[in-house]
């Protein structure tokens, strides 16, 4: 390793890294939350004069509030109206003392402020800049508008998700944004590693469409190799290229309660019928082989449900797990929060205090690093909570400067 830069030694992997964060809504803030959890100082730039959206300054609904905390925990916030020239000037000064600048505006915004990568690298040569967008910052679609669901539709995920005999349903939520967030964090970390080795910064052009398309398994290769002979269609809960049966969600006792069961091998099938107590229908010769079970999967699923319906989803999971069959409750939000002793013991949900001292529940990181466990230390910041720290301590602005800016409405 070159000695260009020494990251710090602590229980947080990213202590000493400062991120100037212009991102909003879901994908961007979830990327920078990952960095904040590991000790990066993430300064969220917000304005009352920007659109108030989920995760933005005013999170009007309870759900919006939850998302604000979930994706912005551990960050700092300053209010800065980027429509004012002083606001832009302050942002540039902050960029010059940051390691990472992150943004997910439409393509022209950063350029119009003189804060595109080429401009910023002049004031901070080793800057890492993350630009997240729907379709990327080049190409014929660079100005197209998209939300997560748009990208899911355009990538094929919507059409492919659901049962063959019903209309497509697509992912229930913005999987694309979650994927964009993970990809954004990866790209920044790769760039920081590259910088630590070489001293070089760089620009990351992250197309959330490309990040999402990268998860289409073998689809691209299959189309390329097999063309019209490739048959990629909705397969409900069955794996697309596998004869797996029994493989799906089965209704259990109670209101809209389900268990997912996933049987692939002959051993698992034998264990399954053993756990069910060898009901007579399991001896039906239609179900004697994997291909028979796959061929008669609808009849099989209906018969399976005559058994699962007699039990709670939790009881089916226990019975089948005891027999070595992969089975899991189709858990609701309530199950995750209240009824899952495993998540509780692992401490997946974290309680953090917000700026007013109110305890908020947020998701923890889905991994445990033994030496740098990190973790969010507090909830999302109040809008503009860190004005003093950022402007006085980091930038060293004087009372006079601050007053001038306040009068000019820079901090609205």
């Amino acid at each position: 390793m070159s000695a260009v830069e020494k990251p710090s030694n602590s229980g947080f992997a990213l202590q000493g890294i400062r991120v100037l964060d212009f991102t909003w809504i879901h994908a961007g803030p979830s990327a920078t939350r990952i960095l904040a959890d590991q000790g990066a100082e993430v300064i969220k730039v917000e304005s009352n004069n920007a659109l108030a959206v989920v995760g933005g300054p005013s999170s009007a609904t309870a759900r919006g509030l939850g998302q604000r905390h979930n994706w912005n925990a551990g960050k700092r916030s300053i209010s800065l109206d980027m429509k004012t020239s002083q606001g832009v000037a302050i942002a540039k000064r902050l960029a010059a003392v940051s390691d990472v600048v992150a943004e997910n505006f439409s393509g022209r915004v950063m350029t119009s402020w003189g804060m595109d990568y080429e401009s910023l690298r002049r004031v901070k040569p080793d800057l890492v800049m993350l630009s997240m967008s729907g379709f990327g910052r080049t190409g014929p679609w660079k100005d197209r508008v998209s939300y997560g669901q748009t990208l899911q539709a355009w990538s094929g995920f919507t059409e492919l998700t659901g049962f063959p005999n019903t209309d497509p349903c697509g992912p229930a939520s913005a999987y694309s944004d979650a994927v964009g967030g993970m990809a954004g964090a990866q790209a920044v970390l790769l760039a920081l590693i590259h910088r630590a080795r070489t001293g070089q910064g760089q620009w990351i052009d992250l197309s959330q469409f490309e990040a999402l398309s990268s998860l289409l398994d073998t689809l691209v290769l299959d189309l390329s190799a097999n063309g019209a002979d490739s048959h990629n269609q909705r397969t409900g809960n069955r794996p697309p290229h596998d004869s797996g049966a029994t493989h799906g969600a089965y209704r259990c006792r109670g209101d809209d309660r389900w268990v997912a069961i996933s049987v692939h091998t002959e051993n698992e099938w034998e264990s399954l019928i053993g756990a069910m107590g060898h009901p007579p229908w399991t001896q039906d010769e239609r179900f004697a082989t994997a291909s028979g079970r796959s061929h008669h999967s609808e009849e099989l699923d209906a018969l399976m449900e005559t058994w699962t319906m007699q039990h709670s989803a939790e009881a089916v999971m226990r019975l089948l797990q005891d027999a070595g069959v992969p089975a899991g409750v189709v858990q609701t939000g309530a199950d995750l929060a209240e009824n899952d002793p495993h998540l509780q013991e692992r401490g997946f949900f974290r309680q953090v205090l917000d700026g007013q001292g109110v305890s908020r529940t947020i998701e923890g990181a889905p991994y445990i690093l033994s030496r740098t466990p990190g973790g969010p230390s507090r909830g999302a910041p109040e809008f503009g909570a860190d004005q003093t720290y950022v402007l006085r301590e980091i930038l060293g602005m004087s009372d006079e400067e601050l007053a001038d800016c306040a009068i000019a409405g820079v901090f609205e």
Partner: protein, 409 residues
């Protein structure tokens, strides 16, 4: 020791990874390999089970023709080794001393019992990063539960909300619970690599598929934790009902009316087509009415109207007004995407035989200085046995042959 090349073109150049993973981790290995790491896939003698998973290249389903294998193992090298054999375990232990990262997806305790756990491999290699990806993590009451992509998706809370109210809960297409685990694990490994650059310290990483999924649902946890009501299946609607997938003249299209302008524009267009019904009246001006008791009535009108237009008409009309509308593309249309071609996302590469060009999916993100690369296709079974066992470990060729005849390699 691991080779440390500063100024290598890719961010992970010179970092050696032992990839012992199955389907849950194979994408994580690919991400590392595609970003420059020297990823050595350790296959059981005879080959990884993934090699016989379809789909296949048309001329036969042998172990070199699985598209599943070819996709997920780009840029990796391959050795074969029976790690359950004591000689095999000994060899793996030796190879690991030259590795910076171990990636594995065995049940908790399995590798420990073979003398290949983190505490064993750490000896003599204090910088080792050892990432274990499992369904439920290394601790807790469910740690020994078995799971697949489907049941991980269910236990993580994503399945319950996906699907229509009148269908069972539904998985996402593809192995997204596995890939999410891989994506999360890659983040954790990168954090550990960064920490190691500062301190020389490695660490152990415990990744849980259930948690990886649970942290990816967007609204499931926040909805319950902040409103007390669990989110439910909404079918073709996104949770808030401002985003929905409609059947149109030639397929399906996604229409978002999350801003007042888009809601007004949609109603205007419907009115011009004479299909707005009473939606033009003032009563429907507030877009939040879509969430209320009239939603069924409104949706009926939108659906009837959508059937009179094509995906392209609706998409272009919406995009020209800066609304995020777009077609639900069918799988067979994916290679027609001009944006992906123009940006070089699709990469044409020869696979196994000269002249046999195939299209690969490319970089998930573009780094200007240290980019993603397709350096070489997925390896053949044990393709790199000789160079790694004899070259790197210094094993005499006759010993390699002897181990091969004993079925260890």
């Amino acid at each position: 020791m691991e080779q440390q090349t500063s100024g290598g073109q890719q961010p992970l150049t010179g970092i050696r990874v032992l990839d012992l993973s199955g389907p849950m981790g194979v994408y994580c290995g690919k991400l590392m390999a595609d970003m420059g790491a020297d990823v050595i896939k350790v296959e059981p003698p005879g080959g990884d089970p993934m090699r016989i998973m379809g789909p296949f290249i048309p001329d036969g389903a042998n172990s070199e023709r699985s598209l599943n294998w070819l996709h997920f193992n780009t840029n990796k090298r391959s050795i074969t080794l029976d790690i359950a054999d004591p000689q095999g375990a000994e060899l793996l232990s030796k190879i690991s001393r030259q590795a910076g990262v171990v990636l594995e997806t065995f049940p908790p305790g399995y590798l420990d019992n073979l003398g290949l756990g983190y505490s064993h491999l750490l000896q003599g290699n204090p910088g080792l990063i050892y990432a274990s990806l499992t369904p439920f993590g290394q601790t807790g009451p469910y740690k020994d539960f078995k799971a697949t992509d489907l049941t991980g998706f269910a236990m993580g809370g994503y399945m319950y909300v996906t699907g229509r109210p009148d269908t069972p809960p539904t998985r996402l297409w593809g192995s997204q619970a596995y890939h999410t685990t891989s994506n999360r694990a890659f983040i954790a490994i990168l954090l550990a690599l960064y920490h190691r650059m500062a301190t020389g310290e490695g660490q152990y990483i415990d990744v849980s598929m259930q948690e990886a999924v649970a942290a990816t649902t967007e609204h499931v946890n926040t909805a319950y934790n902040y409103t007390g009501e669990p989110a439910v299946r909404c079918g073709f609607r996104h949770g808030g009902q401002f985003v929905a997938t409609w059947r149109c003249k030639d397929g399906f299209v996604s229409i978002t009316t999350n801003t007042q302008q888009s809601w007004d524009d949609l109603r205007d267009w419907m009115a011009r087509d004479g299909m707005a019904g009473d939606l033009s009246s003032e009563k429907f001006n507030d877009r939040f009415i879509l969430r209320g008791e009239l939603s069924e009535h409104i949706e009926g009108l939108i659906q009837a109207w959508a059937l009179t237009h094509t995906r392209q008409e609706i998409t272009e009309w919406g995009q020209s007004r800066h609304h995020p509308w777009g077609p639900a593309v069918r799988a067979d249309e994916i290679l027609e995407n001009e944006q992906l071609w123009e940006r070089g996302y699709f990469i044409e590469s020869e696979v196994l035989h000269p002249g046999e060009k195939m299209v690969y999916p490319g970089a998930p993100y573009k780094l200007s200085r240290s980019p993603w690369q397709l350096r070489h296709p997925a390896p053949q079974v044990g393709q790199h046995n000789r160079e790694i066992y004899c070259g790197d470990l210094g094993l005499p060729v006759d010993e390699l042959d002897a181990l091969a005849s004993q079925g260890v390699i």
